[in-house]
Symmetry: C2
Amino acid sequence: MPRIYLYDTTLRDGTQRAGISLSLEDKIQIAHLLDEFGLDYIEGGWPASNPKDTAFFQAARSLPWQSRIAAFGSTRRKEFSATEDPSLNGIVEAGVPVATIFGKASPFQVRDILGIDLDDNLKMVADSVRYLRDHDIEVVFDAEHFFDGARLDREYAVAVCEAAAEAGAQWVVLCDTNGGSLPDWIRELTALVGRRISAPLGIHAHDDAGLAVANSLAAVDAGATMVQGTINGYGERCGNANLCTIWPNLVFKMGLEAGQKPAMVQELTRLSRTVAEIANLAPDAGAPYVGENAFTHKAGVHVGAVRKHPEAYEHVPPESVGQKRRVLVSELAGKSNLLYHYEELRPGSAELAQVVEEVKRLEAQGYQFEDAESSMALLVQRALGQVPEYYQVERFHVSVTRDQAQPVTEATVRLRVGTRSFLEVGAGDGPVHALDNALRKALTGIYPEVEDLKLTDYKVRVLDGRAATASTVRVLVRSEFRGQPISTVGVSGNILEASWQALLDAVDYSLWNSGITPMEA
Amino acid sequence: MPRIYLYDTTLRDGTQRAGISLSLEDKIQIAHLLDEFGLDYIEGGWPASNPKDTAFFQAARSLPWQSRIAAFGSTRRKEFSATEDPSLNGIVEAGVPVATIFGKASPFQVRDILGIDLDDNLKMVADSVRYLRDHDIEVVFDAEHFFDGARLDREYAVAVCEAAAEAGAQWVVLCDTNGGSLPDWIRELTALVGRRISAPLGIHAHDDAGLAVANSLAAVDAGATMVQGTINGYGERCGNANLCTIWPNLVFKMGLEAGQKPAMVQELTRLSRTVAEIANLAPDAGAPYVGENAFTHKAGVHVGAVRKHPEAYEHVPPESVGQKRRVLVSELAGKSNLLYHYEELRPGSAELAQVVEEVKRLEAQGYQFEDAESSMALLVQRALGQVPEYYQVERFHVSVTRDQAQPVTEATVRLRVGTRSFLEVGAGDGPVHALDNALRKALTGIYPEVEDLKLTDYKVRVLDGRAATASTVRVLVRSEFRGQPISTVGVSGNILEASWQALLDAVDYSLWNSGITPMEA
């Protein structure tokens, strides 16, 4: 079975995506993950361009890695010899085992962007590779703009690759830098270079035409054995080739081995989600294999079939990439989905009809239960009369005062059980935090168990931004109660009211699900 | 030049995406857009499955369309003749010119999911097509699971297509229903069917392996002349083939004519954004061609090259799909990007250094200026001493009280100019709305021009959701002042403070940008 090398550039090309900014700690954390997952190469940054990248290599040097750490840079500039070139010396000083340098493989780029002649560019490529090889560094040569260059002058584009290979580059990577090539072109040119040089080939694709995955696979099909890409496809413009799609495609669709630890593909979803979390970007719910929706069934006919045979609407088993099957409760599927989830709801019962009506009414207001399974469960159990009244809410009040510097925030909450009243006050960073604190204090007097309820995530979505500050907001709260995950929702034109609903649902679900009995009045 | 037919199923398959729920009005609005853009076919829904879809066809019947409106359904069920079948009659009653019916083209699906034998399935396909053709309806036959079916039994999969074509179907559409096929397989099988039947072929691809676009193009390359897909790739699981990527690929990469109005591809970005807005989904910033980042340059080397020759890092001109080039201000590019944007900042000046420092400091706190160009402009102009102090903020106070039903929200704002104080109170749906109202009342007393400042969008992003209700939030506000768009940002652990910053920036930018002079103290 041929072996494909996975080369990750999340820490360099990935950070070129609009909206990403990684701290040094973020970069180290991501590198450790990539190492754990057995990626063959981890490109850490461009030492000459950026002090944060220099710091990364300094920190990386004292850590043990199973992956090979690569530093990125350009071929020498025309005004320097290789020995004097700051970019090349930046790489040497980074003390890495691998250097990835890019040189231009397009006559337009060489003449009109660099402003030098074609032969000089070949010399710059050769000199730069040789200099790094003389320092015993493994050289990956990225032939930038190769596929666009070949459209202008096929022989010159290949000559650039030959120059790198002859100078000793261990890898020649063909780049579709602008991301606009079609798979057939990628395949044809990769095969051509494969016939002309003996160094192993790699592919570096961008997604500007939505073809980065297909182009990477086409290159592999034509003989490339390294795939450069990023986790979640992060990268300049529309992004780089997405390794979270390519890796399972190589394994499950093409029967190839990829990476140092083939079994880790089974935990791919964790890799994708953790990197998104560190990068502070919302994960792409529709992403192949790892997206939240990738094994989510909504259509009624699909749900029915999947109950019989999951493979009816799944191209691979969700477990093969660390995923779970989800079946949504939604108006499209209606009763059959509710019955799938809640065995307690009998077909044809009045309670089922009531739940269907209630879900429709709430969805029309902006509620969404797909991400709030605990609120949904409460709704069903309440319809079945299974949830007791644990307390009554009499009042909450929140005030934010900003005189000079930081605002001062306080909230009071008054709950009641029978004739007993529980009034508490809380402060916080913001109004929701203060309200949450006051609620917990009031509740703990009634149900000490609430101390075990931890909030783990809080999200706000403005539903109709065009209504500006008067918009309706949906709040999603994730919590944990004694190891059990809880997800709840609230919707209102007032963010405090929406948060309040989601917080109370989390409390009620915890109490009900743990079988706690209501305090006697 | 061959002509490709674009078939949109946003209103049916698109709504199977988790998180989409379209009202009847939403569906009508999207259909009008698709019609305006010259899509050849618009699939409106599945009349037998869903009362909302029935209502759609009722409403559509009395409207004029240039596109052909299609109703979706399955082949007849085994227990009914075609004449008696509710799904087929639902289509007939919808009064549409086109019916798209799906029949299973995989022996596994026929035997194990439908539970019938293979020959009966062929009869069901033929009967159903013939029944609709007898009603003078154009029939598009979707061969569901065709590509997976052909892997199990190539002859049977083709026989299903032949049965539909012989019964009179005008189109036979090969479906990669589970989205797991590779382009080579799509190409080979499409070519095979093309040799066996004379009806024109279509392709219906899903994106579970990240290959829906490539698979659609491969089918076109092998002779298919209809592409089924959705706007923004919405659809079950990972989505359908994205027409916003495929259309420009057909035109710009393959030199084909597609759709009834070829010139409308130049406004594609508007189609994508408007549909996202109606569907109430955040647009995918990284989407090819139409995403906010598709022509956004961040890396320093790219920015330099793009200034000389945009085509250096753009595969097509942004205008060709109704886009604009964006160059980001970010730590990666630093000074060169600032200089690109603000000619007033001289290279090497103390002000430039100060702005760079300030941006770094604020970005570390969670500010992002990529979407808040007016806040960024204020920052630069303040460093240059160009923005006068229009007023001083003495205090704001917000209170939310919830006794029984709806919460009551009030805000007070006190501003000062010299010795004069302006105190006002405002109410609102939520605390931000009340604060906004009080601020406007107080300001209008000082600068009546503020009445022309309209807020158009309000977004909240929780930056560190894991800190739960104590999270830092970033607020982005879009406004309009006398026709000029304004985008501002605020960041704080307190949502009111963050909103306040963004609101004040919008006010200050409007006053400064219109050359309004400060009120005399």
